[in-house]
C-alpha cells in the first residue's frame, strides 16, 4: 500500500499545483456562474433565492437571436480574413532563414507587451476624422473631405482582425514549419506544378494548422466586447456587450450568467466539431 502511494506521489506533486490553480481559478468561478444562472435576480443587483429556470426561458428572445447571429457572423468574417492574411504570413516566416525565424516570431508577439485597449485606442487616433490617416490623405490631395472610417462596422472588423491575427499565425506557422520538405521535392520530381504542389500537398498537410488557427481566432473573437465599443462607437451590440450589460447596468446577473453559459456551450460544440477534423494537440 505504502509502495503504491510512493509511486503516485510525484504525480500528485507535479499535477497538484496546476490542478489547484485550475480548480480555484477556473472550476470554482464556473460553478459560481452556473449557480447564479439558476437564481432569481435581486432588484438592486445581485441574486437571491428561489431557484428558477426563468433566465434560461428568457434566452429565447428575438433580439438575443439577432445579436448572437450577428456576433457569429462577425467572428466568421474575422476568422476568414485572419486566415487569408495569416497563411501567407506564416508561410513566409516558416520559409525564412532559420536565424531570422525567431526574430520574426518575436515581432509578432511584440504587440502583446502593450495592453490591447491602448493598442485599440491607437487605431482610434489613426482612423478618426481628424486623425493621422485623414490628415495625411487630405494634405497630399487624395481626398478633399475626411473619410468616415472610425465608428463603422468596418472599423470593428479591422480591430478584431488586428487583435486576433497573431492567434491565427502561430498555429499556422507551427504546422507549416513541420512540413517535410522532401515531400515537396518529391512532388516536384513527379512533375507537379507549383500551384499543384500547394493545393495537393502543402494545403492538405497544413490543414491541422488551419483548423487550429481558425478555432483560436473564432472563439476569443466572440467575447471581445471593448472593440465594438471603442471602434464601432458602441452602436451595435454583440454577445460580449450584451453579457457585460446584464452585470453592470441591467442588474440581471442570472440572465448574464445564462448568456455566458450559452456562449460556453457554443464554444464547446465548436471544439467538439473541431476534434472530428483536427487534433487538440495542434492548438499549441
Amino acid at each position: 500500500m505504502k509502495h503504491k502511494w510512493n509511486n503516485r506521489l510525484p504525480m500528485f506533486v507535479m499535477i497538484g499545483p496546476a490542478f489547484l490553480w485550475m480548480a480555484i481559478f477556473v472550476l470554482a468561478p464556473l460553478c459560481y456562474v452556473v449557480g447564479i444562472s439558476f437564481l432569481s435576480k435581486d432588484s438592486s443587483g445581485g441574486v437571491m433565492f428561489p431557484l428558477t429556470l426563468a433566465s434560461y426561458f428568457s434566452l429565447w428572445n428575438e433580439s438575443f437571436l439577432t445579436i448572437f447571429s450577428r456576433s457569429l457572423l462577425l467572428s466568421l468574417q474575422t476568422t476568414i480574413i485572419c486566415l487569408a492574411v495569416g497563411y501567407p504570413f506564416a508561410y513566409v516566416i516558416a520559409n525564412a532563414p532559420k536565424k531570422h525565424r525567431g526574430l520574426l516570431l518575436l515581432l509578432i508577439m511584440l504587440p502583446f507587451w502593450i495592453n490591447s485597449v491602448i493598442r485599440i485606442y491607437g487605431w482610434n487616433t489613426l482612423l478618426r476624422q481628424e486623425g493621422v490617416i485623414n490628415s495625411v490623405l487630405m494634405s497630399i490631395g487624395i481626398i478633399s473631405s475626411p473619410l468616415e472610417m472610425l465608428y463603422t462596422d468596418g472599423a470593428v472588423l479591422l480591430g478584431m482582425v488586428y487583435e486576433l491575427l497573431p492567434f491565427t499565425i502561430l498555429p499556422l506557422y507551427a504546422s507549416i514549419e513541420k512540413l517535410d520538405r522532401s515531400l515537396l521535392e518529391a512532388a516536384s520530381d513527379l512533375g507537379a506544378t507549383k500551384p499543384h504542389i500547394f493545393t495537393r500537398v502543402i494545403f492538405p498537410l497544413t490543414m491541422p494548422g488551419i483548423f487550429a488557427g481558425s478555432i483560436q481566432t473564432f472563439i476569443p473573437s466572440l467575447g471581445l466586447f471593448y472593440i465594438s465599443e471603442m471602434m464601432g462607437g458602441g452602436s451595435t451590440m454583440y454577445i460580449g456587450n450584451l453579457i457585460k450589460n446584464q452585470f453592470l447596468s441591467a442588474r440581471n446577473w442570472p440572465l448574464g450568467a445564462a448568456l455566458s453559459l450559452l456562449l460556453i456551450l457554443i464554444t464547446l460544440v465548436l471544439m467538439k466539431l473541431y476534434t472530428k477534423v483536427g487534433s487538440l494537440e495542434d492548438m499549441a
Partner: protein, 353 residues
C-alpha cells in the same frame, strides 16, 4: 514516510502562500489608514497627500466606474474592506436597505455649513443621516455652434435632436437610463418611470434618434466634440466643460425639458472600523480650499458654496463646469427604478440590435 510528510508540507505551504496572496496587503500596526472606494478621476492625489500631512491618516483609494460595479463589489466582498464610499443618490436607498452603510455623526463635520442647501435633505436621505453630498453631475446638451450653423440646426427641445440634418452627428452617453430619460421627457412621460409599457414606449423615439447617433461614448465624448466630429453631444457636464476648454465653438444649451442630474455622496460603510477617519475626511474635503483643489483638477458641479467663492474665472465662466444653477435646481434627480432597470436595458438592447 518522512519524505512524504515533507512533500505534504511543501504542498500545504504552496497552497497557503497561494491563498494568502488573495488576502490583500495588510498594513502595519498602528498605521492609520482610511480606505476609500471612489469613482475614477474624482479626487486628485494631492488631496490625499495633504490629508495625510495634516492628520497622519493615509488614504488608500480603490476606484470603480459605475454604481452597479460598486454595489456588486460591496455585496460580493463585504463592506469591511472600505470605510468611505462615494455613491450616487439613486443607490443610497438600496445601500440603506441592505445595511451596507451606517449613520454619519454630523457634529464631526463642521464644514457641512459650506454645502449648498439645495443639495441637502433630498428625498433619498431627508435628514442626511447616511449621506453627505460631494459633487453633482448634470447631463447636458453641448453643441458645436459652427457645425450647427452649417447644418442649420437649432436645439430648443429634445425633439430637435431628431432633426434629419443631424444624421450621424450626435455623440451620446452610453447609458440606458440617461437615453431613456431623454426619450421619456420628450414624449411627456416620467423619466423615472417603472411602468413596463411606458418604458417600452420610449423605444420608438430612441429608434428615431439612433440614425443621428454617431457614437455611444461615456468615457471620452469630449474628444468627438472638441475635434469637430459631431455637431451635438448629450454628455455629462464635466465632459462638456473639458470640450469647451479645448474648442471655443462648444456651447451648452438648455431645452424646454429639464436635464437629468445625479448627486454623488459620501457614505460610510456599515462595517467600517475607521468611522472617525472617514468623518474627518468628509470634513476635510468640504473645507473650501480643499474643495477648490478638487475642482481645479476635476471641474464638476460645485456643491460647496464657500469653495465657489474661491474659484477663478476659468472655472466660473465655463458653462460646462459651472452649470446654470436654475437649471441644476430644475433638473430631474435620477431615481432608483429597482426591478424596472431590466426594462430600461431591454429597450437599450433593442435599440442597438
Amino acid at each position: 514516510m518522512k519524505k512524504n510528510i515533507s512533500f505534504l508540507l511543501a504542498g500545504v505551504l504552496l497552497v497557503t502562500t497561494l491563498l494568502s496572496g488573495c488576502g490583500g496587503s495588510s498594513s502595519g500596526e498602528g498605521d492609520k489608514v482610511l480606505n476609500i472606494y471612489n469613482w475614477t478621476e474624482y479626487i486628485p492625489q494631492e488631496v490625499y497627500d495633504q490629508f495625510e500631512e495634516e492628520t497622519g491618516i493615509r488614504v488608500v483609494e480603490s476606484t470603480f466606474s459605475s454604481n452597479e460595479e460598486m454595489l456588486a463589489k460591496l455585496e460580493a466582498g463585504g463592506t469591511d474592506q472600505y470605510d468611505l464610499v462615494v455613491a450616487s443618490n439613486y443607490v443610497i436607498d438600496v445601500m440603506k436597505e441592505k445595511n451596507m452603510i451606517q449613520t454619519i455623526d454630523k457634529d464631526k463635520i463642521e464644514n457641512i455649513t459650506n454645502i449648498s442647501p439645495s443639495s441637502m435633505g433630498m428625498d433619498y436621505d431627508p435628514d442626511n443621516e447616511y449621506s453627505i453630498p460631494f459633487m453633482a453631475t448634470l447631463t447636458v446638451i453641448a453643441i458645436n455652434q459652427e457645425k450647427c450653423d452649417e447644418l442649420g440646426v437649432t436645439i430648443n427641445s429634445f425633439n430637435d435632436l431628431l432633426n434629419p440634418a443631424l444624421e450621424n452627428n450626435i455623440v451620446v452617453v452610453d447609458d440606458s437610463r440617461e437615453l431613456a430619460a431623454v426619450a421619456l421627457k420628450a414624449t411627456g412621460q416620467d423619466p423615472n418611470s417603472t411602468d413596463e409599457a411606458t418604458i417600452e414606449g420610449a423605444l420608438d423615439w430612441l429608434n428615431q434618434l439612433k440614425t443621428n447617433i454617431k457614437a455611444y461614448d461615456s468615457d471620452s465624448p469630449k474628444t468627438l466634440l472638441a475635434s469637430n466630429e459631431v455637431a451635438v453631444g448629450l454628455v455629462y457636464n464635466m465632459d462638456a466643460g473639458q470640450a469647451i476648454k479645448e474648442n471655443d465653438q462648444i456651447k451648452v444649451v438648455y431645452t424646454t425639458e429639464a436635464c437629468e442630474k445625479s448627486i454623488d455622496n459620501f457614505v460610510i460603510t456599515a462595517n467600517s472600523k475607521n468611522k472617525e477617519y472617514a468623518e474627518e475626511f468628509i470634513n476635510f474635503v468640504h473645507r473650501a480650499d480643499v474643495y477648490k483643489m478638487i475642482l481645479d483638477e476635476f471641474p464638476g458641479v460645485c456643491l460647496n458654496d464657500a469653495a465657489k467663492e474661491l474659484m477663478d474665472s476659468s472655472y466660473l465662466d465655463n458653462e460646462g463646469s459651472n452649470v446654470d444653477t436654475a437649471e441644476l435646481d430644475r433638473a430631474n434627480l435620477i431615481a432608483d427604478v429597482g426591478e424596472a432597470a431590466t426594462y430600461y436595458d431591454d429597450i437599450f438592447t433593442k435599440m442597438k440590435t
